[in-house]
């Protein structure tokens, strides 16, 4: 996949993901899981492209992908436990 204009394309993707997540406002269960998935994808895009960690050594990429994934997974899992 090619990217015509990196930062601007990521900005548009982030806007679209934000609006998609907003569509699930007030949702519970799997609806909220979808909201959290959109949030996690957004955070991943911020880390990879805004923070440019896609060009960082593997250990840094794994650390930040892990932190982002853990944030999304923790909130989603505990939501299902309530």
């Amino acid at each position: 996949m090619t990217c015509p204009n990196g930062p601007t394309a990521i900005w548009v993707l982030l806007l679209l993901a934000t609006l998609a997540g907003f569509g699930g406002a007030g949702a519970a269960g799997w609806g909220f899981a979808a909201v959290m998935l959109a949030a996690t994808v957004k955070a991943h895009l911020v880390v990879r492209y805004y923070m440019e960690l896609r060009a960082a050594p593997m250990a840094w990429r794994l650390l930040f992908d892990g932190l982002v994934g853990l944030s999304g997974a923790l909130i989603t899992a505990l939501h299902f436990l309530d």
Partner: protein
């Protein structure tokens, strides 16, 4: 999008260690909130419904847009194009300041409605977490302003690129933390 190959010739900014630790700290906050929410889900959902999600959405869009402008300013710094750095930094600061204005309006509205940190557990978390985030935001704005001041020179001084990248990383962390706070506090309904 083409994944860039790892660039081991470029040193990783030291601020990444601080940012990783700060995100880990917020993960503890997220866990604490969600565990407390498990004890009284109905109250948390009722109180969350009192938040204005349109303001939360607006603030998300503002931070994402400001972050985009910062990435363009970093591009300018790397190529030594100082007018581009100044232009995009000014835009990032202007859009970023709108976040603070919206947050101020939101706090004032909630307090006028009698919704304070003492209202219930949800609002205690809401004010503490968004307050801590606001502190990060204020530091981020100050760093962007400092970068703009440094960028007034016609040529980048030694260390300017690294400074700009570090400040940009901090600002993106403010954006990243808000993404999760917005979803968890504003968009979560009751099961």
């Amino acid at each position: 999008m083409v994944e860039a190959a790892p660039d081991r010739s470029r040193p990783v900014p030291g601020i990444l260690t601080f940012i990783a630790a700060d995100i880990a700290n917020f993960i503890l906050f997220f866990g604490y909130f969600m565990v407390e929410r498990m004890a009284q889900p109905a109250l948390f959902a009722r109180s969350a419904a009192l938040l204005d999600i349109r303001l939360g959405l607006l603030n998300t869009l503002l931070l994402i847009t400001s972050g985009w402008q910062v990435t363009l300013a970093v591009e300018g710094a790397r190529t030594g194009h100082m007018p581009k750095v100044r232009r995009h930094l000014l835009c990032a600061i202007a859009v970023g300041l709108c976040f603070g204005v919206v947050k101020g309006i939101e706090y004032a509205t909630k307090i006028a409605q009698g919704l304070t940190p003492r209202t219930d557990a949800f609002f205690t978390f809401y004010y503490v977490f968004t307050g801590i985030h606001l502190l990060h935001y204020a530091i981020g704005i100050a760093l962007l302003v400092a970068t703009f001041v440094r960028a007034r020179a016609d040529r980048a001084d030694p260390g300017f690129i690294d400074w700009t990248i570090s400040c940009a990383l901090f600002w993106h962390m403010v954006d990243l933390l808000w993404i999760f706070l917005f979803a968890m506090l504003y968009l979560q309904g009751a099961r």
